[in-house]
């Protein structure tokens, strides 16, 4: 077959590169999107990418602590989603816009 032979085990670096790619995509979405909800979803994507790194290192060191940290990140993300979406609701109620450039009271 012309394709190179696959290794029997996945190298740890592939997981870390996947995590870096997902994190960079999250940063790109955070910077370029204009909808508050989509920006918020990009933050969730970044948190997920970091979780993947935690779990991959937990496998590498054969310790359960990485899983605990991933669990805490999930809990904090859940709390953050509840509060953040409440803030988005309030912003929309007061200004009836979700465009991120139109919410600029603190700018001036």
């Amino acid at each position: 077959m012309p394709i190179p032979a696959l290794p029997a085990a996945v190298p740890l670096s592939w997981y870390l590169i996947l995590s870096a790619v997902l994190f960079a995509l999250g940063v790109a979405g955070f910077l370029f999107r204009k909808n508050i909800i989509t920006v918020f979803m990009s933050i969730e994507l970044m948190l997920n990418a970091v979780n993947l790194s935690f779990v991959a290192f937990a496998y590498q060191f054969k310790q359960v602590d990485g899983h605990i940290y991933a669990f805490f990140v999930m809990v904090v993300a859940a709390a953050e989603a509840a509060v953040g979406l409440g803030i988005i609701l309030t912003v929309f109620k007061n200004r009836s816009t979700l465009h991120i450039d139109e919410v600029s009271t603190l700018k001036n």
């Binding site: 979405g29 370029f32 989509t38 359960v64």
Partner: protein
């Protein structure tokens, strides 16, 4: 017989990356939210490959279940339409994708060159992370952070209730 671990990794890593790209480029928030569900499902399978059953289940229940329902509920409640295309800066339009690729390439090179050679990840290579071990660690070594977490969630609930009230 080709090895199954890299094949599964490539399938689900591909799903994760394609869904993440779709999250960034879709115009409508609902499409982005469904792409995020795809990312989270693919990451749950990768967690299973890494021997993290508890985290995989929590990922599906907490992220793909609770948090995404919250997002989609908010999108539908606010009737969020597609973004009206406001032109972004010319620097971002022409340099964004090349700089992104350069950053990915740099990160891959650094990770590949600096990480010491290890044995690699096979399914079943790390089985000491079931619910028993996580529970034991959570309730002995990490008991204080766990209890503080409950306080954090209580404050978050109060904050969400206050923010979502009628008059504010």
């Amino acid at each position: 017989m080709p090895p199954i671990d890299p094949i599964l990794f490539f399938i689900f890593a591909g799903i994760a990356v394609l869904s993440a790209i779709s999250l960034v480029v879709q115009k409508h928030p609902i499409s982005s939210a469904l792409s995020l569900v795809g990312v989270m499902g693919a990451l749950a399978v990768l967690y299973l490959l890494l021997g993290a059953e508890f985290i995989a289940a929590a990922q599906l229940i907490v992220y793909a279940g609770a948090i995404m329902v919250l997002f989609i509920f908010t999108i539908m409640l606010l009737n969020a339409g597609s973004e009206h295309g406001r032109s972004r800066s010319r620097v971002a339009r022409y340099l964004g994708i090349p700089l992104f690729m350069a950053f990915i390439g740099l990160m891959s090179y650094l990770i590949q060159s600096r990480l010491p050679a290890t044995k690699g990840v096979v399914f079943g290579g790390f089985t000491q992370a079931g619910g028993l071990e996580i529970g034991r660690s959570l309730f002995t070594h990490y008991l204080l952070p766990f209890e503080v977490t409950s306080l954090l969630i209580l404050i978050a609930i109060l904050g969400a209730v206050v923010l979502a009230r009628k008059e504010i």
